[in-house]
């Protein structure tokens, strides 16, 4: 199963964890989730994941805009781009919202946060209504489980735009893996229930002496709540069956007339209340319902019965039974999530998906030709060349700590760079970039070597925050123009594979360079005849 995790904050730590267990998209930084979806030529589409998780930080997405109507516009803008980039053969999990930011604690209106989160949820719900392959990923529950104090880390946020604490990252990783595993299994259809000490407390056959526990209080309420969970499952399409060792008349009396029975006799599609071994009853039920044994889940308080069924009918799922009545309802909810709530597309869903696919196809021309570009235009990307000598620390950091968009991964120390700045043989191109959400800082650097004939791009790095925005096109255009003006006819670019710079493997080729020489260790030297450089499309305002 190929999966992708896209986000507007740095999720690389989680992607790293996921990579240990799954085939996961190695991303082009973060904050480019819409670009990745909208650009048919993106490495995301080349990877072609089966499930895509979009775990979005609402505060970043809103650009810290806490005014409800303005926030509503941003949410709408995000979703309309998102919907424009949706494919039909991938499943998308979009996070629900947990709005968090330092200023939130001084917002006077106590309902503001819920209202903003609500705007996101409402739009997500609408989107899910139109796209059967879009589902909600319960991110808020995960944060809630840890609490904000433990879930978020301002220090890691400041250091690397990593929002979640290590603990929360690990939890998110587990949660995503759980969803991935579920997607690869078929859901079960039937829940088989025992009666005594399962649907109610105590024994039906003895209720002349001691009534069964099923009521509005104490242990009785625990059983009643279990039934409420089961009833909801039944309403959502889970078939119920009874497999119980009992006198049928005693059991039926309770089923039909106990005042606190939430499940009515009609809720059960089939029942076997007798003294026969349970595995035989289950086999019969499977025949009666015309279902495979792998459609069944068996819920029984008696460990001997559970182990009998496990041994004789290994296809039947037999979850553990909770020790305490107060754990019954949550345990059943977990059984639902684990065995029944699998978001496999139904025929109906598929019909709906096909319908939307048709609509999408009509829009396809627009999408391929335009909507990614429209999106880039809408970002209002700015690019300003800055003086490398004034930003030596940042330059050193970019050169040495960038892994993904790094064509050669040649490392230079601060003092080496300082010396190179003074040499005639090197040219430095250092850029600051921003967009309509603000300044992204100094994010791209290119070092050109002029020794020996053809100028050579020694180093070309870009921060993952701005990858996928075609900024590299603007940068190379500028370098080529300069070299042409300086009288050079050709420009050479080097790619040296490092194991982590796959995202830029095809960069030179894509930009019109031809292979000039194969280097040791898989490296490739490319060259461009500058006069024949292709016209490149990008949307960058020069500062």
């Amino acid at each position: 199963m190929k999966i992708a995790l896209l986000s507007n904050v740095n999720m690389n730590p989680v992607i790293r964890l996921l990579g240990e267990e799954a085939e996961v998209y190695q991303g082009e930084g973060y904050g480019n989730e819409l670009g990745a979806l909208l650009n048919p030529a993106s490495s995301y589409h080349a990877f072609d994941p089966e499930i895509t998780f979009l775990v979005m930080d609402l505060m970043e997405l809103l650009g810290h805009e806490l005014d409800a109507s303005e926030a509503g516009k941003r949410v709408e803008a995000w979703f309309s781009d998102f919907e424009g980039g949706l494919g039909t053969d991938c499943i998308y999990y979009v996070s629900d919202a947990w709005l968090w930011g330092p200023e939130l604690s001084v917002v006077q209106d106590p309902m503001r946060r819920r209202i903003l989160e609500g705007a996101w949820l409402q739009r997500l719900r609408y989107c899910m209504g139109n796209h059967a392959n879009v589902r909600v990923f319960p991110y808020a529950e995960l944060i809630g489980r840890l609490g904000e104090e433990r879930a978020f880390s301002l220090k890691m946020w400041y250091m690397g735009r990593i929002l979640l604490s290590r603990e929360a990252q690990k939890l998110l990783h587990e949660s995503i893996m759980e969803y991935v595993l579920r997607e690869s299994e078929t859901p079960r259809k039937v829940l088989l229930l025992d009666l005594d000490n399962t649907l109610w407390g105590g024994l039906a056959g003895e209720n002349d002496h001691e009534p069964v526990k099923l009521s509005e209080e104490h242990t009785g309420l625990a059983y009643k709540n279990l039934q409420r969970v089961i009833l909801q499952m039944q309403r959502q399409g889970v078939l119920l069956g009874i497999v119980s060792k009992n006198n049928e008349a005693d059991a039926e009396r309770i089923l039909a007339s106990h005042p606190h029975m939430t499940l009515s006799p009609e809720c059960f599609a089939a029942r076997r209340i007798n003294w026969k071994p349970k595995h035989e009853n289950i086999r019969e039920l499977a025949r009666e319902l015309n279902l495979g044994l792998d459609s069944f889940v068996f819920f029984d308080d008696n460990p001997a019965e559970r182990s009998l069924v496990r041994e004789t009918l290994p296809q039947v799922a037999v979850p553990e039974f909770p020790d305490k009545p107060e754990d019954l309802a949550p345990a059943m909810a977990e059984i639902y999530r684990r065995y029944f709530a699998k978001p496999v597309l139904t025929e109906e869903d598929l019909g709906k998906t096909a319908q939307y696919a048709a609509i999408a196809k009509r829009r396809e021309f627009k999408r391929e030709a335009g909507s990614f570009e429209e999106y880039l235009q809408g970002l209002q990307i700015t690019l300003e060349r800055v003086e490398p000598g004034e930003h030596l620390d940042r330059l050193t950091q970019l050169v040495n700590k960038t892994n993904q968009f790094n064509l050669t991964a040649l490392r230079y120390t601060r003092s080496e760079l300082k010396r190179m700045l003074e040499e005639e043989t090197y040219r430095f191109y250092l850029y600051r970039s921003g967009d309509r959400f603000g300044d992204n800082g100094i994010v791209a650097a290119l070092i050109l070597s002029l020794e020996r004939g053809t100028p050579r791009v020694e180093e070309f790095v870009m921060s993952c925050r701005v990858m996928g925005r075609w900024i590299e096109r603007a940068v190379l255009d500028e370098v080529e123009r300069d070299m042409k003006a300086a009288g050079y006819e050709r420009l050479r670019g080097i790619y040296l594979p490092t194991g982590r710079n796959m995202p830029v493997e095809g960069l030179y080729k894509e930009l019109g360079y031809a292979v000039a020489e194969e280097l040791p260790d898989g490296g490739i030297a490319y060259e461009l005849e500058i006069a024949k450089a292709p016209e490149r499309v990008y949307y960058v305002e020069r500062g």
């Binding site: 730590p13 790293r16 890691m156 690397g160 290590r166």
Partner: protein
Amino acid sequence: MKEKIIALVEELLKVPGGTVSEDTRIEDVEQWDSLAHVLIIGELEERLGISIPLEEAIELTGMRELLEKAGAV
């Protein structure tokens, strides 16, 4: 504590035990990139309760300094 910190760093960098010592400098370890660095600072705090202030954390250049800031030497 020193051994614990070194073990944690090695674990996060995914390098064999014994790779990292007091004398290790960040720039000498290929795996010690900016992401790994943030994770190290994060885990030190969450797992070992060692909080290195933001500005010092950013400027760390090697293990010796890290151990000093952590109060482990």
